[in-house]
Assembly symmetry: C2
Homo-oligomer: 341 residues x 2
Amino acid sequence: MIIDIHGHYTTAPAPHQGFRDAQLARLADPSRPVPRPERISDDALRESVEHNQLKILRERGGDLMLFSPKASGMEHHITDPATARDWARASNDLVHRVTELYPQHFAPVCQLPQTPGGGVADAVAELHRCVTGSGFVGCNLNPDPSGGHWTAPPLTDTSWYPLYEALCELDVPAMVHVSSACNPVFHTLGAHYLNADTTAFMQLLQGGAELFARFPGLRFVIPHGGGAVPYHWGRYRGLAVRMGLPDPASLLGNVVFDTCVYHQPGIDLLTRVIGTEHVLFASEMLGAVRGVAPETGIAWDDTKTYVDAAGLAPDQLHHIYEANARRVYPRLDARLRSQGR
Amino acid sequence: MIIDIHGHYTTAPAPHQGFRDAQLARLADPSRPVPRPERISDDALRESVEHNQLKILRERGGDLMLFSPKASGMEHHITDPATARDWARASNDLVHRVTELYPQHFAPVCQLPQTPGGGVADAVAELHRCVTGSGFVGCNLNPDPSGGHWTAPPLTDTSWYPLYEALCELDVPAMVHVSSACNPVFHTLGAHYLNADTTAFMQLLQGGAELFARFPGLRFVIPHGGGAVPYHWGRYRGLAVRMGLPDPASLLGNVVFDTCVYHQPGIDLLTRVIGTEHVLFASEMLGAVRGVAPETGIAWDDTKTYVDAAGLAPDQLHHIYEANARRVYPRLDARLRSQGR
């Protein structure tokens, strides 16, 4: 089967954004009542995905997508913890409902209620609620809640450890994924996302030996094909030599990359350099890009087309499309097995 | 001939750092006298490069290197303008002396005296001094003088325009190059440099149509193989479609990439995706990495080996090794012609 590990609910019905707007309005005017998520019907949820993610997933031959709230909408830069908790909960509950409506096609991944400087206790609580209560199989972890001001400590800092303990206890991985950039130098989709991927990997290269000795089961998924990392794999190897660090390949038991790279040469490089045991199929659909390459007629984010054309053997394709995802997301594997898949 | 457009004076004699240390000591204790650059003999300069950049350039078959002050040492995050002016001047003068000692092997590129929030007047003045007074052929422009806090406006902001007017008037390009990161989330060589390359390109994609209409002759060199950009070229094309922007290829008359990518698959992708008319040979030597890939015996930063093995035709190699550099750096071309080359 073909598992897309990186899909976002970018098409949630408008009342969900209405709730968010009411939250922000209350932060501007605290005399307003605390808003509650608006009611959204199952039909509205169905309509929001059947012509979008679900339709495209089917058209392109995918079987199941890991589905998480819209990344740019997480907006962890809003500093009020209660607002962050309510927003994460509402966003995750909506994602959960979609996955319950289409259990054959979606499995849920949660957003965490992070804030700049806010600690990880709320994130740990929401992670537990989602995973143990609602069958979520992973989470998105924002290494920069400030949204482009980069005020949080590196991912190897001990302040993250309570969250890592929860991830290991629950046996779920974290995708390292920032949200909207609030700094005008960074375009969210064209710079901030890729920079965060690159930054996180380098933090893990610097401090991974200690971190993964402490948390051997901790697993990070670096999205967007690992940012700049596979393209600069020789740079990382040479840096590791210079800095007396283990070779970056030693991280790949704990750090994997997805295939959200939107042209054939990029996918060729990714699969050739990183190897097919540590790359997980993904499209980020409906995500960063729209449209079709005029010279090929292939949609930019139809990453399956590129993976299929990368000259890989059947067992290598099986790793990228299915086996690696089942290994990195054991709760997804259990969910699939409970469905007889 | 083979021109390496990206080399840094990372091996300057110790008294140069002594001057810097004295500058910083005076900032900590303003009762100290304003330090002056220490005297450094020609022999010390010769010794500093003959066993390093010059030796390796010759060993690898290079003919000439564009030589600029150590990038991580620019330290634009130090906010005192007079300190920045004196440091840039001393660093540039030292580079100039090396290029005068070895005019066949080095041509000078200058550091600019930037500071966080400090405007560009001092940078314009130093650029004029170096180019018209000392034959410099280009400069390094830091898009983030803060060193990883990213407090400057995007490169498309009008506050940069006086510098762009000077670049166009003098007909020299700017390499977009940050300095040391002061933010612990960013490793200077493994994250900050690559992020800055990616960030700058996306800024130019967003605002380049207007910027280059205003400054048709403005040219930027994005180092380190363009950061994440060529690997994600399909993402940029798809983003451009989504945002109603011109295709990123339309920027390549004003934006070029260097070959500081330290493995064969990266160079293969770069030359295949970007094309050989917009890629300039470079090694960043002695720069980010040290050592040799054990499986090939090739030094990580021996980029000529990768370019030679990329399957390019002789005229394509000529573009990468020489013709593009002469086009982008016309003052280098004039210098070479005056030498009968």
